[in-house]
């Protein structure tokens, strides 16, 4: 009977021959070196050659990852035998940097935020082309969310929309009343009365968006940039800390290190569920965003499409949404979403999302290089 010899068996046989004196040491070392070189050369291409047994997914960590793991990845593995290896990132910029340093196929699916991220990845040639016939559950998704991606990638899709939410104002009700929040709106983040109890995400887009609101400008069409930078400086001088992840945001609010910050709707809902008296308010023109499951170029497409279809199945998408506290991209006009989802912040029962203001990808990506650099300086006291 013959059996396929793996690398370990091959090494053990060579070692045995050396110990028996059948192979001189020099030849053994030479073979070992050649094996190492061959392994190093072949490894990057293994993903293309072998049958797909795993797919890599990267997301935002915390309650979001937990919800995906429990409600989507584990059941998917049980059904298909394909393992989903999940990693986390602190933001789209950080993930893009990792992808840039990787081999094609190393990263497969990412939970990206905002159409501007999608457009940026498309601009860098990282988009794939999904075979939508393999994702029949795409029909349940809110059409507006799909179309905006199609426009960026010339009619095809490299992602499926998955959820949406807002970055609104989160405040500790022990120190800030609902009335004060409504009265001051975004300007509460530059209110001297809360000095050293203010937080903020160290993300240039969010800072610029809120600066536009604080200076009564349209976030998708700032006309007075200097006023915005001044507002960002004012916020910086009053802030205790710029947070860098959802976990840090929740910790700062829960520990009462800060009393007010802008925050992600799902994370704030999670804090409220934990019993913290944290209020959440979306100011007029508040920051709305949609997230998608993006498949990178070079990924095993059929396995990824199978996973995306599984994730979009209403029972899965609803369970994930209830776990991560962000409304799913499923159209409420087509799918019954249960009891909890209609109570989540930012939920739109009409499925039109007319009430949310999204970032214009062309506008924000056009300013990315300049504003991200300037914010890096302003953030540090300049």
């Amino acid at each position: 009977m013959t059996r396929k010899m793996d690398a370990t068996t091959r090494y053990e046989r060579a070692r045995e021959r050396v110990l028996n004196g059948d192979l001189d040491r020099r030849k053994f070392m030479g073979l070992l070196g050649a094996a190492g070189a061959a392994y190093g050369l072949v490894t990057p291409y293994r993903a293309l050659a072998q049958s797909v047994s795993e797919v890599r997914f990267d997301g935002w960590g915390g309650v979001v990852s937990e919800a995906l793991r429990a409600n989507a990845f584990d059941p998917f593995t049980a059904e298909t035998g394909i393992t989903v290896v999940d990693g986390t990132f602190g933001g789209g910029d950080e993930y893009l940097s990792r992808v840039k340093a990787s081999q094609p196929g190393e990263y497969n699916i990412a939970h990206l935020s905002g159409v501007f991220d999608y457009a940026r990845y498309h601009g860098l040639g990282l988009t794939s082309e999904l075979n939508e016939a393999n994702i029949p559950n795409l029909e349940y998704v809110i059409p507006k969310l799909v179309e905006v991606f199609r426009k960026v990638s010339d009619g095809s899709l490299s992602c499926v929309p998955y959820d949406y939410g807002t970055t609104g104002l989160a405040y500790n009700r022990k120190h800030i009343s609902d009335e004060e929040m409504k009265e001051k709106g975004a300007k509460i983040l530059i209110d001297e009365a809360h000095k050293d109890k203010i937080g903020g995400w160290s993300d240039w887009r969010t800072r610029m968006w809120y600066a536009a609101l604080q200076t009564d400008q349209d976030p998708n069409g700032v006309t007075d940039e200097d006023a915005c930078w001044d507002a960002i400086r004012a916020h910086r001088d009053l802030a205790l800390k710029y947070w860098t992840s959802g976990a840090e945001l929740m910790s700062l609010l829960a520990e009462e290190e800060i009393h007010v910050t802008e925050g992600w709707s799902g994370r704030i809902y999670a804090l409220q569920e934990q019993g913290h008296d944290i209020g959440y308010y979306d100011p007029p023109n508040g920051y709305g965003w949609q997230e998608c499951m993006f498949v990178l170029k070079g990924s095993p497409m059929e396995a990824c499409e199978e996973l995306l279809n599984f994730m979009l199945a209403p029972e899965t998408a609803i369970a994930v949404a209830e776990g991560q506290n962000y409304p799913p991209a499923l159209d409420p006009q087509k799918v019954e979403l249960g009891d909890k989802i209609p109570t989540l912040p930012a939920f739109d029962p009409s499925g039109t999302l007319e009430g949310l203001t999204f970032a214009d990808p062309a506008y924000w990506n056009g300013h990315e290089a300049d504003w991200s650099k300037t914010f890096g300086r302003v953030q540090k006291g300049y």
Partner: protein
């Protein structure tokens, strides 16, 4: 040269070859990539343009922003080093001169290395935070009625760095003190010096190489850190390594990030070269060993 001599001459190189290969592949080759990258340019979309452009270097060397943050970084590293020296010397002296329980004390010194640096840094949030141990204790004792803001400033960054670097200082001074013959101190006292004088005139000068080695390690490691200011710093407490992180990760500007990282490497390399010129690397190797 006889064949035996030739073999003996080759042997050290053969033995060193795995280490040299590792250093070459994992340090020098990436360093060459970084040097090459520093002359490339980043386009508006985030893609890199290969070529030989001096723009990144011109920006890194002439922009006051980078200079100021570099000076601030060196200042924070210097303060950290001084605090480590002041706190570490008595501890190292105590361990070196203790009898019987030296191994236990050394083991206690090494214990923090068993815990992740990030977790050690984050532990200060539970100690100094608004609902942390100190505020809770002070409020329970009725000393304060409102919690004090102790976190997220330059002092907490220095505290975090001292926490991280103190064992390196203590170990270096300890190695140096261990090499000093205690009879020299006895001889000094028998010649009329007080204990304090014998320490100042004999022990301290002889332990200076260890102090300098610990100082160099603390300074270089402190100046190159980015986790501590990220976790324990406030909005304006960034250090130079944070700029490198931001250029590479947030702005996706690898060419500028490469130039900035080489700039920091050059400054710290210069410091190591000066140290090596006047004190030699042997003491540092002893401390690290």
């Amino acid at each position: 040269m006889s064949s035996v001599e030739a073999r003996e001459a080759r042997q050290p190189w053969i033995l060193l070859s795995p280490a040299l290969t590792a250093v070459g592949l994992l340090l020098f080759v990436p360093l060459i990539f970084i040097v090459v990258y520093s002359f490339w340019l980043r386009t508006a979309t985030g893609a890199d343009v290969a070529g030989f452009h001096l723009d990144n270097w011109a920006e890194a060397l002439t922009d006051a922003f980078y200079r100021d943050i570099l000076i601030s970084t060196l200042r924070i590293a210097a303060i950290t080093t001084v605090v480590c020296a002041l706190a570490g010397y008595p501890a190292a002296y105590f361990i070196a001169r203790s009898r019987g329980n030296k191994m236990i004390l050394l083991l206690l010194l090494m214990l923090p290395f068993w815990i992740s640096y990030i977790i050690r840094t984050m532990s200060w949030i539970n100690i100094l935070g608004v609902s942390g141990a100190i505020n809770s204790a002070l409020m329970a004792l009725g000393v304060i009625s409102e919690p004090i803001n102790m976190l997220y400033n330059e002092t907490t960054v220095i505290l975090g760095l001292v926490h991280f670097l103190l064992p390196f200082m203590i170990l270096n001074i300890y190695v140096s003190l261990e090499g000093i013959d205690t009879n020299l101190e006895d001889a000094a006292t028998s010649l009329g010096a007080t204990r304090w004088q014998s320490f100042l005139e004999v022990t301290l000068p002889l332990s200076l190489p260890g102090l300098a080695a610990g100082g160099l390690l603390c300074f270089v490691l402190g100046a190159g850190t980015y986790i501590t200011p990220l976790v324990l710093g406030g909005p304006t407490d960034a250090m130079f390594a944070n700029l490198v992180f931001e250029a590479i990760i947030t702005q996706l500007n690898w060419p500028l990030g490469s130039a900035l990282s080489l700039m920091l490497l050059a400054v710290l390399g210069l410091l190591v070269a000066i140290y090596n010129r006047y004190l030699g690397m042997a003491q540092l190797m002893k401390g690290l060993g």
